[in-house]
């Protein structure tokens, strides 16, 4: 399954992103995340991404963020979560 991240991943978006990942992970299939359109990202969404990564690993299926945009990569690095992008 593939999910395209929206351009704005701010606090207001976090609950939508959370629901999206909960639904997707419930299907127990590999997830390919397209992060190329992300222009802004804050902590609320980064931690949803982190929790989703962990959940996928524990469930034993692949979870990968493809083509992270520069802003996403920079913010993940700033927050010390750049391993998210290489998971």
């Amino acid at each position: 399954m593939s999910i395209a991240l929206p351009s704005v991943l701010d606090t207001a978006t976090a609950s939508v992103l959370h629901s999206t990942f909960c639904d997707a992970i419930g299907r127990d299939e590999a997830l390919l995340i397209d992060g190329s359109a992300v222009e802004r990202v804050g902590q609320a969404c980064l931690q949803v991404l982190a929790a989703a990564t962990v959940q996928a690993q524990r469930s034993g299926f692949a979870f990968r963020i493809d083509e992270p945009s520069a802003p996403l990569a920079e913010m993940a690095k700033l927050a010390g979560l750049d391993s998210l992008l290489s998971a």
């Binding site: 929206p6 351009s7 704005v8 701010d10 606090t11 207001a12 978006t13 976090a14 609950s15 992103l17 959370h18 990942f21 909960c22 992970i25 222009e39 802004r40 804050g42 902590q43 609320a44 980064l46 931690q47 949803v48 982190a50 929790a51 989703a52 990564t53 962990v54 959940q55 690993q57 524990r58 802003p71 920079e74 913010m75 690095k77 700033l78 927050a79 010390g80 979560l81 750049d82 391993s83 998210l84 998971a87």
Partner: protein
Amino acid sequence: MDIAEIQQIFFQECDEGLAGMEVGFAALRGGDKDPETINSVFRCVHSIKGGAGAFGHERLQAYTHQYETLLDLVRSGSLDLTPELLDLLLSAFDLLADHVAASRDGDDAPNDASMLERLTAACTGDAPASAPQRAAEAPAPSAAASAAPVVAGDDFDDLMMMLDDVVPAANEAAADLDDVADGGWRLEYRPAADAFDNGSEPLLLLRELVRLGGTVTHCDLSTLPALPALDPDQAYLGWTLMLPGKVQEDDIRAVFEFAESCFTLVRNGGPEPLPVADMPVAETPVAATPIVAAPVADTPVAEAAPQAPAPTSRAVQTPAPAPVEDAPKAASAPAAQTIRVDLGKLDRLVNLVGELVITQAMLAQRLLEKEFGTVAELVDLEHLTRELQESTMAIRAQPMKTVFSRVPRIIRELEGETGKRVRLEIEGEMTEVDKTVVERIGEPLTHLIRNAVDHGLEMPDDRVAAGKPEEGVVRLSAAHHSGRIVITVADDGRGIDRTRVLARAIERGIVHADAVLSDEEIDNLIFAPGFSTAASVSNISGRGVGMDVVRKNVQALGGRVGIQSRMGSGSSFSLSLPLTLAVLDGMIVTVGEQVLVIPLSHIVESLRPGAGMIKRLGPTGSLIDVRGTYVPILPVANSLGIIQHESNPERGVLIVVESDQGQAALLVDSIQDQRQVVVKSLDANYQPIAGVAGATILGNGRVALIVDVDALASQERVAARSLRAAAA
């Protein structure tokens, strides 16, 4: 603490920030080239912007955003700080103060359209090509962002705009890792669970720390729940950062101005940091995942640093906001530890200490009556009580800086309005005085400053013609002197034209045409109600209601105003004020069976009249001849309704006092003592009484009323004037 209280703190810190900016601008005006000066001004604006966003003051936020953009160009060296640009920044600063005041008071925001245009023009017109591009890119929220709170959109723009700065800063920081390991800072930052409220974004603080040279060495996911249990509105992440030792502790703490309880700062080589308050215990297995184990690249010191031994230096958990301006800047110096205390609590403490002083005095008197007055412990108790009282009063003391910091703006406005050029010199701004005095001295001081520029200083051409520099000088100083604070406003202008003042006073009927007055008396005429020498009423001064109000306000604070003036050389107004209003020096007198306190600040002299000094006029009126001047006698007993008193001035004591209405001689039966008394408000404890300013409790437990000299004199004014006229 609710949001209103936090917002109140924000506005207090705005005031401190504005005061800091004023100092910075004063230094820049004086030719200061230190880059840290403009940096500090930038940081003040940045903090105000951050708080404005957090509390939804959109206009203030938008204004500070543009102001900050220009300041950023200056501090980065993209724009030269020319005198013209400095003038613009100063004008923008004045408007910023208005914006803050409007936000605080819930008023409409000031019209800033023109200033915003000027700020934008300064960014784009004079800046190098790259600078305006950055500024132009800043606003332009996407559709999604426009639905989000303003703060989020704006700060995200800001964030993205500054990302370029972050990465190089992080690289530089990595080069400083040796410094970090030895004497650097270790910082644990864990945003509170509700950190996203009000649109706040913890990553912005992280960014600021990285810009200071910090390196994120660890992201703590130990409290991050499994995905289904995660509440997207709660913050779960925490970080460990290392910062070089050269970074000032104040700068680090400034990042957390509005998130004070969410970080722990410790100097490397010191003890382990204390645990962050309320940090949930890590229980989830998430900590074992690769994400947690992955530190930010290139940070080998990260693991070593926390293990560094040597429990010699301090660990400080949660910062105290530090408004103390003169705290040493060096990182090795002790931090200025301050806390904010609710004023009500402080006043209660002051009140209780006052009660203690009274009780101690009563105890001493009781023991004295039983011939135990010389017991050593009693003496010790008295010393301790006095010391406690002084220490308590000192808590309420504030530096005059809070008042003086407003003066540069007043001067700038006056320069614009009058066309005069003024150099302001300030001395003794750290002189401390009671908070109430600080709060109430602003208005009289403002008028004196306006008076000095409007009436005192000459126009530039006139100054040059008089052989003076084109630029006039207004000197503002504060100093402790004999247990009082003396505030002086001096100018090097034309001085008081006494001939003109006397002529105007005669014209206004304030003095008789044939009155013979000393220079000092003529100078004091400018404090007479309705006096004005301004040929036309200006909007600066000259309404003729200012100087008498100055004296009245100063006297209400238990102070006096003195004037020194020399024609052609300038004038100097000195305000002598008590350090506190909670106690006052008083003369204890008796009238009939009552004991009264007359404030020493009003007393000129006391005397027992000799034969022939009293002139009786009319059925009840009388005057005393004090070295050739007739002073009306006010029988205090009559004014306060006290019976069985001494009504013959020759058998009583006359206390000559200075009042609003001029001098008067209060007739009392006898003088008992002179001492400091604790002032109790009659308004708060009973009800206001005309002629009585308050009360105190004496050592014997009796209540003594404190005489309101001005009110008593005012009651007798009409009669006194007619008597004086008749005697003359």
